[in-house]
């Protein structure tokens, strides 16, 4: 009894002068108190710990409240949603102690534990956490130990390798042991080989740790292992009732709008019926009429055509294309144009790019200085462009990207048709995040978990519209997504993303699986070249010295011409997933509850995951991802269609109906037009998930076709344009700007697809895309290394893929002005523009200052760049500008002809800088 009094007195000592002494005594007393605490069969708990819980914890964690599934009143041994909160004898492994000692619990506002109380907790846990009334915590079980051995040992004694014949993944295989006999003797730590080898430092071998990206076992973990063996290596206590169970959610949480299947309400009736072109217009007009507004005037036809071209293809129309539409007398000329543009290959270039942003596309690994190139990633980029161009149904598009390897057999030498090859390329979606695990020193388990976390974030933000990543370390603070949900979701991907069974990010994720047709073509090509090579080599052997030399050149050339084997970067099931544990506080060193693959609980009841089964007989696959992809693309899914519809809307209008496209949760923006969002979502699913149908629906609306001019009334009542009382005035995005600059100056190549265009990085760091001949391809085909973004694109808000980008910023910063004003690229293009404009208006050098000819030139450049003719006043402005510029050049000593030419190039340059060119009405 005295022993117990000592710590209490000491721990409450406040005197600073006593501090060193106190610290010393603490060490001593911990043991004494601990012994006392252990010996007293729960008295220490009753006297100290129970009251402490009562004071600080019960408000949220008694049998009524049990927040986070934790009931400290009478079920402390069961732990909470994430797993056990107390590990007897191991304060450092106990979640409760960790949260309390880091002052994270109780929440700051409800008063925290003082140092003495924390010491008491530590004392109690370290001494074995004895409880009164014969209650006991489950001792360390095989479940915890399995996680430990997977982390520290299984890389050499597990699935891939069994060095010394030893597999440490299960209790049975530990007992079976390896060449030197059983690895452990239940109840006898001293005689257990496993512990002996660890104690002697022989295992894990220090020299080989980095080579296999493993960190050494810690003393605390060895103690845990010792405890387990000493306790007779107990198996986990089956508690199926808690597996995958979570906190119950309140009715409010369950009835949150984004978790309900969208229903289609009939479009409302409106007053301004004359403006209604589609049901969309009614939804928007209704809101506008409520505040006394209506739609803006319809945009003038030439403005509308330019807007359509840029919106659907990322390029302005040529003058002829514009005239074709304007001269068409048909009422449906705009609808016909929409159809035509949707069939343009440039459509996929423009809209595929949006998806690449959402998916986080990059041609390099990032994450380390080298920023290694991913040489085969472009196949995924092409897949996306082609999918958009062929209007691949969105449900199928998602299934291919999430589970393409489980859609059709592709292993064991089966015939690979184009569709199957596409399935596999599509899985590149799951191989896009920054990934430094190509090197041993950066491929440790935490590095791998970062990659998985990024993939979860991409999945959550781009596809589900949920911030699932928030639940990696704790239950989501706002949405009904528990930490267990996060790990259940990651378990779905475990057969491909297994932190204990990892494929490095360079090389190992490559498959030589392409369509049989492509492969045959390659084989033939290779064969032809090889036989040619053999011929040359034969000739060389018989040739004289001189001929040999020239033949050698041909031989080298022939060798270089042999194309490399076609390969893809992909993700596929490896069929042997490790178990998944909730990682307490996101820390890989503290595994909590084991979970099974499943969707978050908030969905599981009403929208359960289809049964997980191997996709075909004899498949190596678990079928987890396929089940998930089917769940995600079910017609009833509350989020998938909404999220995609919102994204398409956002790219058409610059703002989504939900302004937070990655977050449809509680902290996201509520939809500005909820009924419209749902109406569109249902239409989208009904159309067979056709993205092009969705475009037609939106683009044919009066809302989309209205003018961007801002009226006084619209400015006052709808200042930010949220109600859609006008079309937005938008700046061209990075790619459209660069592509348009190239296009109007006659420097854009029509060639699509294939390996990325290399970059040139100049000595001073300017990054430019290498030209093909004297032309450049569209920006999407440039090499997009994370550390080397073409300068022009980067200045105009090409995003950092961290890991993806759902909404680019649209900044107006001085470097943009400086780049367009003073940058060399734009200057060269404007000179080229001046030259093609002269061709357009059939003028040639030397130029004269004849007013009519000047007018012709000005009209031609306006038509080409701005898709319109200058008005009378504007023409006057241009002529005046041209005159002033020419005068200035004359003053610098240029000849009249040369001054005229330079002045015109200056004018072209100014037009490329102008708001009329850079912005879309």
């Amino acid at each position: 009894m005295t022993a117990k009094l000592v710590p209490r007195r000491i721990f409450t000592t406040k005197s600073p002068t006593l501090k060193p002494l106190v610290n010393l005594l603490r060490l001593l007393c911990l043991t004494t108190a601990a012994m006392a605490a252990a010996a007293d069969d729960g008295r220490y708990f009753q006297q100290e710990i129970g009251p402490l819980f009562q004071r600080h914890c019960m408000e949220c964690h008694d049998r009524e409240t049990h927040e986070g599934g934790l009931n400290l009143q009478d079920q402390i041994t069961r732990g909470g949603d994430s797993g056990p909160v107390i590990v007897p004898g191991h304060a450092d492994q106990s979640l409760l102690f960790e949260l309390v000692s880091h002052a994270e619990m109780p929440p700051p506002e409800s008063g925290q534990l003082d140092a003495a109380e924390i010491e008491k907790l530590q004392t109690w846990i370290s001494a074995g956490a004895a409880l009164p009334n014969g209650q006991t915590f489950p001792s360390v079980t095989a479940d915890r130990i399995q996680a430990l051995l997977l982390l520290r040992c299984a890389v050499c004694h597990g699935a891939t390798r069994q060095e010394g014949g030893l597999d440490l993944r299960t209790t049975e295989s530990i007992l079976r042991g390896g060449k030197s006999g059983p690895a452990a003797v239940p109840g006898n730590p001293d005689e257990s080989l496993l512990l002996q080898k660890i104690a002697s430092g022989e295992m894990a071998p220090a020299r080989r740790l980095v080579e296999v990206s493993i960190k050494p076992i810690t003393d605390a973990e060895t103690a845990l292992l010792t405890d387990w063996i000493a306790a007779g290596m107990p198996a986990p206590v089956a508690d199926r009732s808690r597996e995958n169970s979570d906190s119950e959610y309140t009715a409010t949480e369950q009835s949150f709008w984004a978790f309900q299947t969208p229903q289609q309400a009939p479009p409302p009736s409106v007053n301004t019926t004359a403006r209604v072109q589609t049901p969309i217009d009614k939804f928007v007009l209704q809101r506008l009429e409520q505040v006394g507004l209506s739609l803006a005037e319809p945009a003038p036809p030439d403005v509308l055509v330019r807007r359509l071209y840029i919106d659907l293809t990322g390029l302005p129309p040529t003058w002829d294309q514009l005239q074709d539409v304007l001269q068409d007398p048909a009422d449906d000329r705009i609808s016909k144009l929409i159809d035509r543009l949707l069939e343009s290959p440039h459509y996929g270039v423009r809209w595929g790019r949006y998806w690449l942003d959402a998916a986080g596309y990059a041609d390099s690994e990032g994450a380390q200085n080298e920023d290694r190139v991913r040489p085969r990633m472009w196949r995924y980029r092409d897949y996306v462009i082609r999918s958009f161009n062929s209007d691949k149904p969105y449900d199928r598009f998602l299934q291919e990207q999430l589970a393409g390897d489980e859609l059709a057999p592709w292993q064991d030498g089966v015939e690979i048709d184009a569709a199957t090859a596409d399935n596999l390329v599509a899985t590149g979606f799951l191989r896009l995040t920054p990934d430094r695990t190509f090197a041993n020193i950066t491929a440790f388990v935490p590095d791998r978990l970062e990659v998985i976390a990024d993939e979860m974030q991409v999945l959550g933000s781009a596809v589900m519209g949920l911030t699932v990543g928030c639940a990696r370390c704790h239950n989501h603070k706002f949405d009904p997504i528990s930490q267990a949900d996060y790990y259940k979701l990651s378990a779905i991907f475990k057969d491909a993303f297994d932190e204990h069974d990892w494929l490095k990010s360079q090389g190992e994720r490559t498959l030589a699986v392409v369509s049989t047709a492509e492969r045959k073509q390659w084989e033939q090509q290779k064969q032809t070249l090889e036989s040619r090579l053999a011929e040359l080599q034969a000739q060389q052997q018989q040739a004289d010295e001189e001929t040999r030399k020239s033949l050698q050149q041909q031989i080298d050339a022939a060798k270089g011409a042999i194309p490399p084997e076609p390969q893809i970067r992909a993700l596929w099931s490896r069929g042997r997933p490790s178990p998944t544990w909730v990682l307490l506080r996101g820390n890989y060193l503290t595994p909590g509850k084991r979970v099974q693959p499943d969707v978050p609980t908030i969905f599981a009841e009403r929208y359960p995951l289809p049964q997980i089964a191997p996709p075909w007989q004899g498949a190596e696959s678990t079928g987890r991802r396929l089940a998930f992809a089917r769940w995600l693309t079910s017609d009833q899914h509350p989020l998938t269609a909404r999220v995609m519809v919102n994204r398409i809307w956002m790219h058409h209008f610059g703002r989504g109906l939900v302004d937070t496209p990655a977050n449809f949760g509680v902290t996201g923006s509520p939809p500005s037009h909820p009924l419209l969002l749902d109406w569109l979502a249902v239409e989208f699913v009904r159309s067979g998930w056709s993205i092009k149908s969705l475009h037609r629906l939106i683009l044919n609306s009066a809302v989309w076709q209205q003018s961007s001019a801002v009226s006084q009334q619209s400015q006052e009542l709808d200042p930010a344009g949220l109600l859609l009382s006008r079309a937005p005035l938008r700046r061209l995005d990075a790619e459209s700007l660069r592509d348009s600059l190239l296009f109007v100056s006659g420097a854009l190549s029509e060639q699509m697809y294939g390996p990325a265009d290399p970059l040139d990085v100049r000595a001073d760091g300017l990054v430019t895309v290498r030209a093909t001949g004297d032309q450049w391809r569209r920006s999407i085909f440039a090499m997009m290394r994370r550390t080397q973004i073409p300068s022009l694109l980067e200045t105009f808000d090409y995003p950092q893929m961290g890991p993806n980008c759902l909404q680019r910023s649209e900044s107006t910063v001085a470097p943009q002005a400086l780049q367009l004003l003073n940058g060399g690229e734009v200057h060269r293009l404007s000179a080229r523009l001046a030259a093609v404009v002269l061709q357009d208006c059939q003028q040639s050098m030397p130029l004269t200052d004849d007013a009519d000819l000047r007018k012709q030139r000005i009209i031609a450049v306006c038509r080409r760049c701005l898709s319109r003719q200058p008005g009378k006043q504007e023409l006057h402005l241009f002529l005046q500008g041209l005159q002033e510029l020419a005068n200035q050049w004359r003053q610098t000593g240029e000849t009249a002809e040369r001054a005229e030419q330079l002045a015109f190039a200056n004018l072209c340059h100014a037009i490329l800088n102008s708001a009329s060119f850079v912005m879309v009405e």
């Binding site: 050494p216 760091g765 980067e794 910063v813 470097p815 400086l818 002033e884 708001a915």
Partner: protein, 476 residues
């Protein structure tokens, strides 16, 4: 082809081939016109932040010693290491250690330490000039990192994350304090023609608005990208006038379109910057005494340019830039300037020759102008170097305990903080991590590190993530 002189020819050219070049993409991203993006975007009112509380420092100058200065050869003397020099080295395997003990020997300091200043703190003979300023320095000897790799550590030091894609501390400071001068960026990197490991990510605004990205000022040649008009000033004026007329007309058609108006103003700011930035970078108006103090008049071009950047740092500080970073030059084909796995004696000496005098001069100059109290100067590499060696003239990557210093801005001078063990291996007394340094820097600027946040990916993101404690013991 072009009728005009290209503005980009005759620009920066290197006397040496370098393994890495100086990317200039986005170099100027930070040179934003304050109102531009705000008016256009209607974004969160983020441009004009206020400090959370009043604090001594108004700005930071960060002297980045990339590659890793050897702590046991500069500020952290280890007599026991000197005594055992040449003996086989043994230590417990440490996950933060890259090397393994086989074949390694202890390597005592290659430079002699002396007690310096009134405080008597030891500084080695490698840094005679900094030694002279020791009474202003707070030498922190117990910093720890995560991974012994340059890229990861450099990103950790700059962004608080060792994996890419988080804003730089300079961007956070720019965002947190707002601009003092709306024609200048909040964050400037005075580069020495070498981009440190971790690349541009080190200086990126990442998810913070583009206006907070570092503006890069090169040491040699034209200091800033696209800043030089492509044509004569009169022509540039005419072009701008024409553009203004044209855009004005477009704006009138569009009604009250804030977007176009801010685009027009953006061009005006750009035009003003064309004069302002080159002026600030031109040190020819400084007195001869000042130029000599920094060593701008030294012979070697590396010496000269580093001194130039230090002097520019003071000018930018005066002009209202919030966070100024100076990087080191890489004098030869090496992974990074201070990364001496071999040739330690020669190359550390060379790096010290380049940086020591200008760094000390910067401190002295700031002090003499009464600016040191409001300018927090931080001297740090991304790692230290191992007390042991595979040879006799090189040290490897070391992150389990190394040294940085801070001065001015309300930091106590003439003190050391924290300790490594007797061999200089691991921080044993008051170990700190980089988040603690970040929290302390922000604190001295009047920013609470837990309250400086930006919503991204559904979370309130912080420079210090979920870590960081202000190191109260070193505040004056």
């Amino acid at each position: 082809m072009s009728a005009e002189t290209s503005p980009t020819t005759g620009r920066l050219r290197h006397s040496l081939a370098r393994p890495h070049t100086v990317p200039r993409r986005s170099l100027l991203q930070g040179l934003s016109c304050g109102f531009g993006w705000l008016a256009f975007q209607g974004l969160q009112a983020a441009a004009d932040q206020q400090p959370h509380f009043s604090a001594p420092a108004k700005r930071v100058i960060f002297l980045f010693m990339d590659g890793g200065v050897s702590h046991v050869d500069t500020f952290d003397p280890k007599p026991e290491l000197d005594r055992l020099s040449g003996q086989p080295a043994k230590w417990r395997p440490d996950v933060r250690s890259q090397a393994i003990s086989a074949g390694r020997r202890w390597l005592g300091s290659l430079w002699k330490f002396r007690q310096r200043g009134q405080c008597g703190l030891p500084v080695s003979d490698l840094f005679p000039h900094q030694a002279h300023m020791i009474d202003r320095l707070c030498v922190i000897r117990s910093l720890t990192g995560e991974t012994p790799l340059h890229g990861a550590q450099s990103l950790l030091l700059h962004t608080g994350r060792s994996i890419a894609a988080a804003p730089s501390i300079g961007s956070w400071v720019s965002y947190g304090l707002g601009r003092e001068n709306e024609n200048l960026p909040g964050y400037v990197v005075l580069n020495n023609d070498w981009i440190p490991n971790g690349g541009f990510q080190n200086f990126s605004s990442s998810f913070l608005p583009a206006a907070h990205e570092a503006a890069m000022v090169r040491a040699a040649g034209t200091p800033v990208d696209n800043i030089q008009p492509a044509v004569a000033p009169e022509l540039q004026q005419l072009r701008l006038k024409f553009l203004r007329n044209m855009d004005g007309k477009f704006a009138a058609q569009q009604g009250t379109a804030a977007g176009i108006e801010s685009a027009i103003r953006n061009y005006e700011t750009a035009a003003r910057m064309q004069t302002l930035v080159p002026d600030l970078c031109d040190v020819s108006g400084e007195t001869q005494a000042t130029q000599s103090l920094y060593g701008v008049d030294r012979d070697d071009s590396f010496d000269k340019l580093y001194a130039l950047q230090c002097l520019r740092a003071r000018r930018l500080a005066e002009a209202g830039v919030r966070f100024i970073e100076i990087t080191c030059p890489n004098t030869h084909a090496n992974n990074s300037p201070w990364d001496q796995h071999g040739d330690l004696r020669r190359r550390h000496t060379e790096n010290a020759r380049i940086t020591d005098q200008p760094v000390a001069a910067l401190l002295a100059d700031l002090e003499q102008r009464g600016m040191l109290d409001e300018t927090l100067v931080v001297w740090a590499g991304e790692m230290g170097r191992t007390p042991h060696s595979g040879g006799t003239d090189g040290r490897d990557h070391h992150v389990s305990g190394y040294t940085i210093w801070m001065a001015g801005g309300g930091i106590r001078g003439g003190m050391s903080f924290g300790e490594t063990d007797e061999m200089g291996m691991s921080a044993v007394a008051s170990p700190l991590d980089i988040h603690d340094i970040h929290a302390t820097i922000l604190h001295q600027l009047g920013i609470h590190h837990e309250q400086l946040t930006w919503r991204f990916g559904g979370r309130e993101m912080r420079l210090t993530d979920v870590h960081g404690n202000v190191v109260k013991e070193i505040l004056s």
